[in-house]
Homo-oligomer: 184 residues x 2
DNA sequence: GCCGCCTTGTAGCATATGCTACGGCGTGCT
DNA sequence: AGCACGCCGTAGCATATGCTACAAGGCGGC
């Protein structure tokens, strides 16, 4: 019984290891031979366990999204964040050392999703959805506002800030200062 | 005189054509042989005029950024947009048929800039900077607000919205509705 | 012991990619 | 006419990439 499913177990372990790799080096690190070398195996094995690179990619993306959701959930375990602090809080979270890897792959996934790449599109949608749900759960919205819409707005602002933060830090800093004053 | 600089002129024409290509198909379309085929020449010629692929990339990115700035300027020629409409206006602009190509390459550039890719980093910074300057010029900010910071905040929100729009349309729609009500 | 299956290594293939070497063609200058 | 130089095509190289073919080793069941 364990022997029959050992393959699945190993596939999962490989997926986790590949997710580590992607989170610190980006999607380009998923080339079969280099990636396999990092894990101490061969491209031959990756194909054996995943069948095809596309399937491997799908598994790894799913893993990354799951980890991201778990990461978010872990940060706000039993904690509610006041609405006016959520944007700043999340922006800080995503630009911190722990959050940057997720932000970076998020950008890569989103960029490819924008070209009609189905596998990235589904991953991106899932990731954004999870992210938004997390905001809904972590913020206590005042009565009268639609949580999902308000959360989406916050998510958009956070996304914009971290995107600018990765490209034009001075512009991002200007935007952040604005968030500060708005929150006060 | 014209003969001596014919090379530079042709290089510029190639750059423009490559920019067209990139804007409609993405950065991956810049592989030498496929790109050259699209332009009716050979990879040999691209190397001849640009010297190296890296230089070609730099030229094309510069061209794309310049065109983007020109596009923005053209839309608001002699027009000022009220502050409370700028976010919605720009979001609409970038998700329109004319704007999407710019948004898509913007995401690609930003994603690569986030990994320490210098050439993309400089292009991304320039593009964000130009974008922000355009907002500063196109909006008449009330006295007492720092134009650059306010523009940066708007830019962040727009970025977030179009990013979500390309990945999770339903979330983006929720965010947009929020912008509408805030503007009213 | 032997057979069969799961796992894994070694080679190889077909294609793609950036770049180079070499040579031909035409134009303008002397 | 001859010659040099700018332009360009053909081949080729070295490497990378996804994937396949073949075979060897190991392990459990009969």
């Amino acid at each position: 019984m364990d022997g029959s499913d050992a393959r699945g177990a190993k596939r999962l372990r490989l997926t986790e290891a590949l997710a580590d790799l992607v989170l610190e080096e980006g999607l380009d690190a998923l080339s079969l031979r280099p990636a396999a070398a990092r894990l101490g195996t061969s491209d031959r094995m990756l194909l054996y366990y995943f069948g095809t690179k596309a399937e491997m990619l799908a598994d790894v993306l799913g893993c990354v999204v799951a980890r991201f959701a778990a990461h978010l959930a872990g940060v706000t375990r039993n904690v509610r964040i006041p609405p006016h602090q959520m944007v700043g809080f999340t922006a800080e979270l995503m630009t911190s050392e722990a959050g940057r890897p997720y932000a970076n792959v998020w950008f890569e996934i989103a960029a490819r999703a924008a070209r009609d790449d189905k596998i990235f599109a589904t991953a991106a949608e899932l990731m954004a959805e999870r992210w938004n749900e997390w905001i809904v759960r972590s913020v206590h919205f005042p009565a009268g506002v639609a949580p999902r819409s308000a959360a989406a707005m916050m998510l958009a602002i956070v996304n914009g800030i971290i995107l600018l933060d990765s490209t034009a830090p001075s512009v991002a800093a200007a935007a952040r200062s604005r968030v500060q004053s708005a929150a006060a």
